[in-house]
Symmetry: C2
Subunit: 263 residues, 2 copies
């Protein structure tokens, strides 16, 4: 009897796409002992030209080789098209999108999802220990490949169905894009009195860390939760910008509703 | 000629108040070599009873001793009353509030502000290296005492006037209370599909860290900034809760205005 231990074998990968996610994945896979990046495909070959000494690159669908898994790290709008144009069939293919179901991909291959829930900056190296992956597969037997990929780059992974992934992707907009816009708003407020925005940075970090061990519900403080009308009125008067007023007003109301106070 | 070097002398402090800020300050001062907490006053003596082996405690205004600085760490509403009831005169007194001017305190003493811009949790020890202080004094010669206090507990400090402090306090509501409410909203969204909120925590930390070296303006990404109507529409449809919809709608518009796109 032969027992196949996935952890002891090499996983071969072909990356398709040339954006931030594709590039960060390439770098992480390239460093991992148990992963070989066999090929890197991009429709715009010049965008990955700089990596041609490290990996075989191509922009030709007909050139695609065999691999254990094809990782489609392209924009949501391109997932369907690229998956349909693939010349390989009956292989295992995954996309990296938070918003798309696996049915977005052409069914000539076994499909799955390999969604890294993190924000990737172009020029900042990503520590994959801080990148949780949300995994989904059509064919159960493929789950082990994705698990092994995550383990090889030191990432945590979670089995998440399409509905759950959609809700995570949506929640990520709140904790990433919307939170960042509140940082921007604070920056505008401090700039208006020529005070150093850096003074707020320790508070920003502490606010994020606080919910490591405390639910956001329990972590809440401040004038809205305390129903401190005097401070709220003072703040509304201080705010010069109508958009800032709108945000202040809405989030104050939402906090008060969340914490059971009547307006 | 005698040169007084504040860094080499002991600073004597009397703390007034028994809340989170008072308690965290007491603990930090008590550990610092160059600070003596001479007395701790609270109108409700039982609330600091547990510290009576470490410091002299009192609830009697007439008992107050002499010290280099009296730190009024009471709620905003109590600053005026407590400062007026003080029996000491011509001493140096500071409050710790972000929202109040120094004129809130009775003018029989030299006044100042010693505002720690951070969120304090009751049971979590605070590393004062992460607590920036916003300082203001009526009488210039008192600034050195506040600087030395900060240095003795390892905190950064900034000279900030009342108008600037008000804008920092207001901005802090955005990056602390409002950001935390967005975390809460994300928690509600993930709970609605029974998916683990913990998956979002690395993204929450990374979002806070990203602006260490990048302005929030430059750090922005996502469907709102990209003007990705398809995803925005999909998200609005996914959101079940009217409050969540309102937040999504408003912050999407604000991001789009900030980044120069028309709706």
């Amino acid at each position: 009897m032969v027992i196949v231990n996935y952890f002891s074998i090499m996983i071969s990968v072909i990356i398709l796409g040339s954006g931030n996610v594709a590039t960060h994945l390439f770098k992480a896979f390239n460093k991992a002992d148990k992963i070989t990046v066999k090929q890197w495909f991009s429709r715009t070959q010049h965008s990955i030209e700089q990596f041609k000494d490290k990996v075989e690159i191509t922009n030709n669908y007909d050139d695609l080789k065999e691999a254990d898994v094809y990782i489609l790290a392209v924009s949501d709008d391109a997932i369907h098209e690229v998956s349909a144009k693939l010349t390989v069939t009956n292989k295992f293919i995954v996309h990296t999108s938070g918003a798309m179901t696996l049915h977005e991909m052409d069914k000539k291959n076994d499909r799955g999802v390999f969604y890294p829930l993190q924000t990737f900056s172009k020029d900042v190296e990503m520590d994959f220990a801080n990148v949780p992956f949300c995994l989904e597969v059509e064919n159960k037997s493929n789950m082990q490949i994705l698990n092994s990929l995550c383990e090889a780059i030191g990432s945590k992974y979670y089995r998440v169905n399409s509905e759950q992934r959609s809700s995570l992707h949506l929640a990520a907009v709140f904790v990433n894009n919307f939170v960042n816009q509140l940082y921007r708003t604070a920056h505008e407020i401090t700039e208006s009195t020529s005070v150093d925005f850096n003074i707020l940075k320790p508070l920003i970090i502490e606010t994020a860390k606080k919910i490591e061990n405390l639910s956001p519900y329990r972590a809440q403080t401040g004038p809205a939760k305390r129903h401190d009308k005097k401070t709220i009125k003072k703040h509304m008067k201080l705010l010069q910008n109508d958009q800032h007023k709108e945000i202040y007003d809405l989030l104050t109301k939402v906090i008060q509703r969340t914490h059971g106070k009547k307006l």
